[in-house]
Subunit: 289 residues, 2 copies
């Protein structure tokens, strides 16, 4: 089974485990819609790649860690798209959750997906309960206070924002959780793995900023020029398009050096570089240069 | 230290643990505002009373369980008050969170409080990590899919609603978690303790329905006649005021019989009856009769 299929199966399994006839049908559908079909599933891919490099010995734990992180990512998209934030009518090329199901069910679907991340971690660690605490700590810290994605989103409500803090919380934290949780799922000390995720997250955020002004809407699957319209902090606004591209390259150049010593370091490096080459489409990289 | 003070200290300690200078100040304030000053803290009181009856041996674990449940309750109030749900301008006698801080920070404060519940459980079980899994399972199930409070709230978006299912999810589930988590925090099998919490939750919900039509706004601290205005399912709408009062009495009459065998059953019974007598003010009980 390939990585992409493994991720979809893990997501389906853990979502299926909490579905039930007692659930209001609208919420059940909204949650399904928020998760399937997905986007690039970048974070769970990174989580799986790190677990593999660390000598994964409990695949069910890795699956749960990867799925939990993706559920949290889906939750953040649903809430970010709400009228009181980005008011985005589109996501992944079709109506956003609040457009399709209404605002109340979008709020609740996001809430339910946050909780599902924790239901997934406890279900996935039944054979290795000693790994639960570190996974809960990593995953909850990446989304909550003081510096998780929810806290990052809150910087958009402030007038005085530090771009690095904002991007680190809003994007970097969940990428750092992806690498740290991959290590923790394999029973390895997660601490040294955070920096790698933070770096990848920084690179990813710069690309997101670039695509917002220089991508194309069809492949993005969401409206462009939103950072500009909303006055969000952005690498392109701060550095210009060419500056942002150079910033991306300098971040990526340092990524490999942040891989902690592990048995599968070479394989992991190859996967990260392969994934990174998909972040920024080649044509766009050339255009920007 | 009395029970009320113990609860406030546990809430303060666990909230303080996730505050940090890197957090956006608006979100930090909104979360504080959502938790302090609190309401009756009924759920954590029940949690502590059950842990005591079960021979509590790890007070830090009980504190974390009680605080986690109250954080989830606060989160549900913040999201329920949003314009897309009850659009409530008041809560606990002052502006609701979205009135005071705006809708974006209200959505995020609710999200952060959900996550805080899990941060609290992991922090509180460091000396008893073998109790973490059951607590996460109890607490996450009480708020998520398929039958937690989020799922209960989603029934308000459906045209065809079963009152018992709706009330069990929306109110009963967190009360059932309060009793179950109290037992689990004391290292006792939580399963037999759920029914007690469900019963108390049912009684509490009936009282809430009664107070919505026959209470007074000053002591409620929130607008009245909301169930009626919003067309929410309600015991009073279904049974009439007198019928609802009788329903409350019949539920309470059966509560004591659902206390599982435990060393402190007598003490627990006395506490539950004392707490119940505060649910429905005596004057109102007489008026209804």
């Amino acid at each position: 089974m390939g990585v992409a299929e493994r991720i979809e199966q893990a997501l389906m399994k853990h979502l299926q485990a909490v579905r039930g006839s007692s659930c209001a049908p609208g919420l059940d559908q909204a949650v399904q819609y928020a998760v399937f079909p997905g986007g690039a599933r970048v974070r769970p891919k990174i989580c799986l790649a790190v677990a593999d490099a660390c000598g994964e010995d409990q695949p069910a734990v890795t699956d749960a860690a990867a799925a939990a992180i993706e559920f949290l990512h889906c939750a953040s998209l649903v809430h970010d798209d709400l009228p009181c934030f980005d008011d985005s009518p589109l996501r992944r090329g079709r109506p956003s959750v609040h457009q399709a199901f209404g605002e109340p069910l979008a709020v609740l679907a996001g809430d339910a997906l946050i909780v599902l991340a924790f239901q997934t971690l406890v279900a996935g660690t039944r054979q290795a309960p000693e790994r639960l605490a570190s996974l809960i700590e990593i995953v909850s810290g990446s989304v909550g206070l003081p510096a998780g994605i929810v806290a990052g989103q809150a910087w958009e409500c402030e007038s005085d924002v530090n771009l690095a803090d904002y991007q680190q919380s809003k994007t970097g934290s969940l990428f750092a959780a992806a690498t740290a949780a991959g290590a923790a799922a394999a029973g390895v000390n997660a601490g040294p793995w955070r920096t790698l995720g933070e770096r990848i997250g920084s690179a990813y955020q710069v690309v997101d900023d670039i695509l917002d002004v220089a991508g194309d809407e069809a492949s993005l699957g969401k409206p462009m020029h939103q950072d500009e319209a909303r006055g969000h902090p952005s690498s392109v606004r701060e550095l210009g398009l060419e500056g942002a591209r150079k910033h991306f390259e300098s971040i990526m150049a340092g990524v490999v050096a942040t891989i902690p010593p592990c048995a599968g370091a070479d394989r992991l490096e190859a996967r990260i570089m392969e994934e990174a080459s998909r972040f920024l489409p080649a044509a766009l990289a050339d255009n920007a240069a």
